[in-house]
């Protein structure tokens, strides 16, 4: 240190310089204006400039390094054969891995085993251990690692084996969602988190959890809950090309059920976030639903003998408020059906919005059918007693139509 001029005199001079520089900077800092309150809503999600280009963060995500995606379309180009949802997910992962070397897919059992649900079957063999790999059994590690990778400019697709096991990663998930806002668009961490959940042939409090509303309530996340193979392709690809982080909820029942099978819609098929699908058109009431409940609502509508608008939200954040309000305006009755628990489920948000913005279009109170505020039981009969059944939904439709 002495050789670099830091003798006693040199040290005193350095101290004086530090004090002087801090004092000068303090004056400038004090003179800075307060932040503008009008812009506080900005940068929760990626925004678009007037030119149409994204208002890019400085760090994180594919776009900051100039990545260009192939052209996309929301018009399906269906193949002749129908495939199940798990195959649709696998093919989408495979295609994006193939065309984008910055995509990595990882999680517990994702490697040689191919995932407990077989979503990644064969992908490690094709793309190698560096790109498709098993992780340690730490969900915090899976999600935090994904965040770091995204911040460095990669596109990580993390698998949480079952929705419930995202619990240990809650801190990282919450922090990931708010990075863009907290840093005023200096950073963003667009990651995709795939998490299967919901009921299956039997249920239980661990593997059958939905709780999708938690991610809608978390700040900065897109939340996809496809009901069928075609939507799964379009939404997963949208997530993997998005500049925002996305929760991609894979319903266990829908992964292989015949109802959810659809033709593969093509390698360029990308759906917009926040665009509901009018699954079935009707005139007597609007049924707002998503995920596995779409199938049950369809059956329930048939059983009820009513003419029912069935709106599949497909994503609950963002959600297609305009489509819901348009449907309710048409039918004047609104039933919301979801598998998540009733209290503070996402149906409450939809109901409150309809009540606030379409109250005078309603001929009856908005109704909800959902799992009561209980965990999903293991015994099959007990599970069926709490998950909204076709019979329960159908009866709710009839009751609402009679108000």
């Amino acid at each position: 240190m002495a050789s670099q001029g830091l003798s006693d005199g040199g040290w005193s001079a350095l101290e004086k310089q530090a004090h002087d520089d801090v004092a000068a900077s303090l004056e400038k800092a004090l003179a800075r204006p307060e932040p503008k309150t009008a812009t506080i809503h900005r940068h929760v999600y990626s925004e678009t400039l007037p030119s149409g280009a994204p208002d890019l963060q400085q760090r994180g995500g594919l776009l900051t390094e100039g990545h260009k995606f192939p052209d996309a379309t929301d018009t399906p180009n269906p193949e002749p054969q129908r495939i199940n949802m798990i195959t649709a997910i696998r093919r989408t992962l495979e295609n994006e891995l193939k065309i984008n070397p910055k995509v990595l897919v990882f999680g517990e059992d994702v490697g040689p085993k191919g995932g407990v649900h077989a979503a990644t079957l064969g992908l490690q063999e094709t793309f190698g251990e560096a790109r498709v790999f098993d992780t340690s059994l730490s969900e915090e590690g899976i999600i935090g690692r994904a965040v770091g990778m995204a911040l460095s400019g990669l596109m990580p697709v993390a698998e949480i084996q079952f929705r419930k096991y995202a619990d240990p990663a809650t801190e990282q998930l919450n922090n990931c969602g708010t990075i863009r806002w907290r840093t005023n668009n200096r950073f963003a961490a667009p990651i995709v988190v795939r998490m299967p959940g919901g009921f299956f042939k039997c249920g239980d409090p661990w593997h059958s959890v939905s709780s999708e509303v938690l991610w809608a309530h978390a700040i900065g996340w897109q939340v996809c809950i496809p009901s069928n193979a075609e939507d799964a392709v379009g939404l997963l690809r949208a997530a993997m090309r998005s500049n925002n982080p996305t929760i991609f909820f894979e319903h266990r029942h829908m992964l292989d059920t015949p109802w959810a099978r659809r033709p593969y819609p093509g390698d360029n098929y990308v759906l917009p976030m926040g665009k509901a699908k009018l699954h079935q058109e009707g005139t007597q009431l609007s049924c707002i639903t998503w995920g596995a409940m779409v199938e049950r609502c369809e059956e329930a509508a048939t059983a009820s003998g009513l003419s029912v608008d069935i709106l599949d939200l497909r994503t609950i954040m963002p959600w297609d408020k305009e489509a819901v309000l348009a449907s309710v305006k048409k039918t004047r009755r609104c039933l919301i059906v979801h598998e998540d628990g009733l209290t503070a489920g996402f149906g409450a948000e939809v109901a409150a919005t309809v009540a606030a913005e379409s109250f005078f279009n309603l001929d009856a109170p908005v109704q909800r059918v959902a799992v009561p505020d209980l965990p999903i039981p293991h015994n099959v009969a007990l599970m069926e007693a709490v998950v909204p059944s076709v019979e329960v939904i159908s009866q709710a439709m009839i009751s609402l139509s009679e108000v």
């Binding site: 240190m1 670099q4 830091l6 040199g10 040290w11 350095l14 101290e15 310089q17 530090a18 004090h19 520089d21 801090v22 900077s25 303090l26 400038k28 800092a29 004090l30 800075r32 204006p33 307060e34 932040p35 503008k36 812009t39 506080i40 963060q57 400085q58 760090r59 070397p101 910055k102 560096a130 790109r131 992780t135 340690s136 730490s138 915090e140 590690g141 999600i143 935090g144 690692r145 965040v147 770091g148 990778m149 995204a150 911040l151 460095s152 400019g153 990669l154 990580p156 240990p168 801190e171 990282q172 922090n175 990075i179 806002w181 907290r182 840093t183 005023n184 200096r186 950073f187 961490a189």
Partner: protein, 275 residues
């Protein structure tokens, strides 16, 4: 391959800059504690007192354009060393406009998106959340280098910076497991002042010394140094910088730690873990 501490003899740190930045950080703390907090211009004050020298020394090794740091709220000396302007450093705790959050976040919850220099990953207000994003960055380095064949990443490292309370968190163990099982270019830089918030270190890890407890951890290169002695404090990052280049050297260095008191009567040490 073992290395000896004599490797530090040829050290050529810019001690003048390290000293200046340490003094600046200390001066800002004094300014906040004696003027800006009493005047209620700063509502949350987190002191980096006693952390300055070791952080500035560490930062002097972070010269690779793809290096990154996952830091915590006592990291102002690192931020200043890696390019945070004095004006931003002073304005942010007053929640003024501009800077790293435009008044949205606490003034010491920082970030630094530097395009051509070390990045400071967006910090969080919760203890222990800095580890796994940092290890994700480390894995991204190996991926860019090994799979994408991007030679510009050769020699880059990720650093997780923590106090001794942080070593009890899930994030620490998750990141430690990832870094050591995958042999990632990752430095865990622990500043042990004997307390996690107000809780003694013996409640964070048995005996209070995580370095001793991790002595048998595979693929982990451990150095302990005295954070109050610049010559000693320079040792660990120096070894790490060398380690990154051949990734096989293993050295465990122990030293009786000393304490220097700061305003809150807590003391400062630095322990460094390398994987």
């Amino acid at each position: 391959m073992a290395r000896s501490s004599n490797d530090c003899a040829s050290d050529d740190r810019d001690w003048k800059r390290i000293s200046y930045l340490s003094l600046v950080s200390r001066t800002i703390d004094q300014l906040e504690e004696t003027k800006l907090v009493p005047e209620k211009k700063v509502l949350y004050q987190f002191s980096a007192r006693g952390h300055e020298v070791s952080q500035c020394i560490l930062s002097s090794f972070l010269t690779h354009k793809h290096d990154a740091v996952g830091a915590y709220y006592r990291s102002r000396p690192i931020l200043l060393s890696l390019g945070l302007s004095l004006e931003d450093a002073i304005a942010a705790p007053m929640a003024k406009s501009g800077g790293f959050s435009d008044g949205r976040d606490i003034g010491v919850v920082c970030n630094l998106p530097s395009k051509n220099g070390p990045v400071v990953i967006p910090m969080s207000g919760d203890v222990g959340s800095q580890f796994t994003p940092a290890v994700g960055w480390a894995q991204a380095i190996t991926y860019r280098l090994g799979t994408l064949k991007d030679e510009s990443y050769r020699g880059a490292i990720a650093v997780a910076h923590t106090g001794d309370g942080g070593i009890a968190t899930n994030g620490f163990w998750a990141a430690l497991t990832i870094a050591t099982t995958l042999k990632l270019p990752m430095l865990f830089f622990l500043e042990d002042n004997g307390f996690g918030i107000s809780v003694p270190g013996v409640r964070q890890t048995p005996g209070g010394n995580i370095a001793e407890n991790l002595a048998s951890f595979k693929n982990l290169f451990i150095v302990q140094s005295d954070g109050t002695d610049p010559k000693d404090a320079v040792t660990a990052p120096h070894f790490f910088a060398r380690q990154c280049q051949d990734s096989r050297g293993i050295l465990v260095r122990t030293r009786k730690r000393t304490r220097v008191r700061n305003k809150s009567n807590q003391s400062e040490h630095a322990i460094h873990f390398l994987s």
